[in-house]
């Protein structure tokens, strides 16, 4: 098999619509690219822009968020609240050099297994055309210019458990 680039797409799917749509795609034995890694959230409104940045920073080549169609949110309008963040986030990430195809929001209802398949396949091809983002490699490369003391570049360990 030729050595093709397999993008890694971190997907945040809401429990009620898109996650269920992905289940339906499975039950219907639809085939799609094995590029997504699904993190289930109860609502797309739970998706914190920090999650998206973290996904990119930790090595995702793309981030896909799936929620219920407008008006169909299990929590009335959590999807709209995410949409507002998403519109700004998309602009900001463009300014930071992340191609728009790498961040996608889709409304996929529980019955739209075929839509899920289409979206994943489409996004996979778009990102495959762009090539890897792979931020961890960028960080490493950037830091070759300095002597970094024995310390970690993120504070995640410090704040990982703070309750």
């Amino acid at each position: 098999m030729p050595n093709v680039f397999e993008p890694r797409i971190l997907a945040f799917f809401c429990n009620w619509c898109t996650y269920t749509a992905a289940d339906l795609a499975g039950v219907s034995r639809m085939k799609y690219a094995p590029t997504t890694r699904v993190v289930r959230v109860m609502c797309s409104g739970r998706v914190d822009p920090q999650f998206v940045l973290s996904a990119f920073a930790k090595g995702a080549d793309g981030v896909l968020i799936g929620g219920c169609h407008p008006g169909d949110c299990h929590y009335l309008e959590g999807n709209t609240k995410f949409l507002r963040r998403f519109r700004m986030l998309k602009r900001m990430l463009a300014d930071l050099g992340i191609e728009p195809e790498r961040l996608r929001l889709e409304w996929i209802s529980a019955s739209e297994g075929d839509r899920l398949r289409t979206v994943v396949n489409e996004m996979t091809e778009q990102i495959r055309a762009l090539g890897p983002l792979h931020m961890p490699a960028h960080f490493k490369e950037w830091d070759t210019e300095v002597l970094v003391e024995d310390l970690s570049h993120d504070r995640e360990e410090e704040v990982g458990e703070r309750v």
Binding site: Q50, S54, M88, D95, L96, I98, D143, V146, D154
Partner: protein, 324 residues
């Protein structure tokens, strides 16, 4: 006579405002000065690098470094001072999170040089002269590709946040240092609660905030009593540590976030973005986009002081040119 504890101040990529904030301690600085021996303070006293090199490791009780790290010289001084100091304090926004200088992480070195030495409207450089890194026997420090916060180069024990830090917080920190009554290492020496906690306008903030459109502070009159967010100004107060004395708010300007994030936040800009945009009073993509047009520079708005410490750190597609 027992020896006075040695302390040092150093500056890296900074504007000098942090130095000013130390002077702003006014008479209180005399109290401190009596109790300590200052071994390095380039802005005010004539000590050399070799004086520091001559000290034993850990001989300095505490060093406060302000400014971001942009050049090889700053790196070297940070490493040297780290070695010589028992406590290293990142002083001010630039050392803490990269500050205004780290907004340069949106541009490559060549783009910056081109702008600063040729394209900027104020430049008068008819012979197109650019700095060189070595001339005859002299060498200049290397200008790095990436601007870093202090803790991205050496380990930092404490942070005094702010652009510049508030004198009251500085004095409290110095007194804590001298008394040895210190919080756990890694602490930011400011309240771990957002600015809204202390904001004099919080009473006027509606619980059902609905932002019709973001406004830019220099283009619209600002009501001096009303919550700035309620007026549509992108106030970063909700996502920024308090302790600054609410100076901007009291001067009728929105908070721009210089005190950095709370301890439970990993990316101040992302959190500020989330909090502010969630409250937009529009549901359709077009209406939302129109409301967002009042924030024409999202990176400059949400990461004004913190791009270096943001999760992505830098515009991702910039070239790397220098190597250690």
């Amino acid at each position: 006579m027992s020896e006075k504890p040695k302390i040092a101040f150093y500056w890296c990529a900074s504007c000098g405002g942090c130095e000013e904030s130390i002077v702003d301690l006014a008479e209180d600085i005399l109290e401190v000065a009596k109790l300590v021996e200052i071994v390095l303070w380039p802005v005010a006293m004539d000590f050399k690098r070799k004086d520091i090199e001559a000290l034993a490791d850990g001989e300095i009780v505490a060093t406060m470094i302000n400014g971001a790290i942009r050049t090889s010289e700053q790196e070297e001084m940070a490493h040297l001072l780290r070695r010589k100091s028992r406590v290293l304090i990142a002083y001010g926004s630039c050392a803490h999170t990269g500050g205004i200088p780290s907004l340069a992480n949106q541009f490559s070195r060549s783009e910056l040089m081109k702008y600063v030495y040729h394209d900027a409207p104020s430049v008068d450089n008819p012979e197109s002269i650019e700095p060189v890194s070595a001339y005859q026997s002299a060498t200049l420090p290397v200008f790095r590709d990436v601007v870093r916060s202090l803790d991205q180069v050496v380990s930092v024990d404490y942070t005094l946040p702010g652009c510049a830090p508030n004198p009251a917080l500085v004095l409290a920190a110095v007194r804590a240092l001298l008394s040895g009554d210190l919080p756990p290492k890694g602490s930011v020496l400011a309240p771990d609660v957002s600015l809204c906690d202390a904001c004099p306008r919080i009473g006027s903030k509606p619980t059902e905030l609905s932002i019709e459109a973001f406004k830019r502070a220099h283009l619209h009159p600002i009501d001096p009593d009303q919550c700035l967010l309620a007026q549509g100004f992108a106030c970063l107060g909700p996502a920024t540590r308090s302790g600054c004395g609410e100076r901007c708010i009291r001067a009728n300007m929105p908070c721009t976030g210089c005190f950095g994030p709370l301890s439970s936040v990993r990316d101040q800009g992302a959190k500020a973005l989330s909090a502010l945009t969630s409250a937009i009073g529009a549901d359709s993509e077009d209406e939302i986009d129109r409301a967002l047009d009042g924030i024409p520079d999202p990176v400059g708005t949400f990461y004004r002081y913190g791009l270096a410490k943001s999760m992505l750190r830098r515009k991702v597609d910039l070239a790397t040119t220098t190597k250690n």
